[in-house]
Symmetry: C3
Subunit: 154 residues, 3 copies
């Protein structure tokens, strides 16, 4: 396995500043060798890239861009907590909430963009369990939100 920090450089990905929490909570909590992240929104420089629902104003390809931003935000939080992504031993699980019109059923297509980016960065250790659900609305009117569980070196 190529170390994830090296792999990020190969892919030309620069992680953003770790985003602040939107309320009275913290971005992540470690218990044993599990790291639970808070729900991450597609914020870029403190603002949502776009707002709205899939099946209405937000297209699948737009939301896939959002999903990649969510992964970058998540990894920036993991790096801020651990010092380096190389201390991640695997990605355990993603829970993806997609703001959806009542007839939008392609939540997996949207979330695949996040899953594939994790696999690109972590290789086989990036393969994770996943749950995908449509929701009517999310904080700040975000198109999607993802929370993550990572396994890390203790």
């Amino acid at each position: 396995m190529v170390p994830p920090e090296e792999r990020l450089r190969e892919l030309g990905i620069t992680l953003p500043e770790a985003p602040a929490a939107l309320g009275s909570y913290v971005p992540c909590v470690q218990t044993g060798n599990l790291l639970f992240l808070s729900g991450m929104l597609p914020l870029r420089e403190g603002k949502l890239i776009r707002t709205g629902r899939l099946g209405e104003s937000v297209s699948v390809s737009d939301a896939q861009e959002d999903a990649k931003q969510v992964v970058k935000n998540a990894l920036s939080i993991v790096r801020a907590h651990l010092g380096s992504l190389d201390k991640v031993t695997r990605c355990v699980k993603l829970s993806g909430y997609v703001a959806s019109a009542p007839d939008f059923i392609d939540q997996p297509k949207v979330l695949n963009a996040a899953s594939e980016l994790l696999r690109d960065i972590f290789g086989d250790h990036g393969r994770h369990a996943r749950v995908a659900a449509g929701v009517p609305v999310l904080p700040l009117n975000a198109p999607l939100e993802i929370d993550f569980i990572f396994e890390i070196k203790e």
Copy 2:
């Protein structure tokens, strides 16, 4: 406790083939002695038994049948991963997402069918924590989706 594999035979339950993931993820991930499953849909031979929402086209008894199918699919994944259900030490948690018309509030009745099947199979070790939420829409227009956490022998 009757071993779960023996109990399955007593109940006359045959598990299906483990269903494939619907995207760029894997059916389950083990970390320590916890097994996190992906969100499971009521697929039977690769197709949803039915589509739609509770409180509209899908009845509670239909959705209870779906919930049992979801449990069978989940157990087929656990068996494929562990070799035998007898390595499960307990069912920890179910998160159930039920596609719901805005006035449908009987999500617990639907999920009870899943919870009771787990108790029939695992006895006291099948007793689990549970969360139930209504959602507007799920992947493939499924009536429900459940994700699971199991505790297993390391």
Copy 3:
């Protein structure tokens, strides 16, 4: 850190009776040093304080009261399981589902009431990861539901 049981007394908070599960599941399951709680509703003496959705019949301040009740119910379950809240080493994660009209986007404001109460009781050990999502409807037509993961002394 002031022990949480002492802190509860300082704050003048009396925990209710631990609420019963609304179906074929149990209020919490311990695995290792993690305690997974079931989704908690704002029940008081067995009844919801109110029903309905945020952005419709339920105001943010009403729902904040509900969120505090949910925390008290959750802590009553933790105490019933462990004997004392002093065995909690930290609050790991909250997942908050807020019944929301399609244009209600202040789920974090509602959940902050829960997060802040945990911090008041557990101090720095009450700081947790959090996910917030809007949903169309919840069991019993509750305005919100929260599930919790606590880390405890083994």
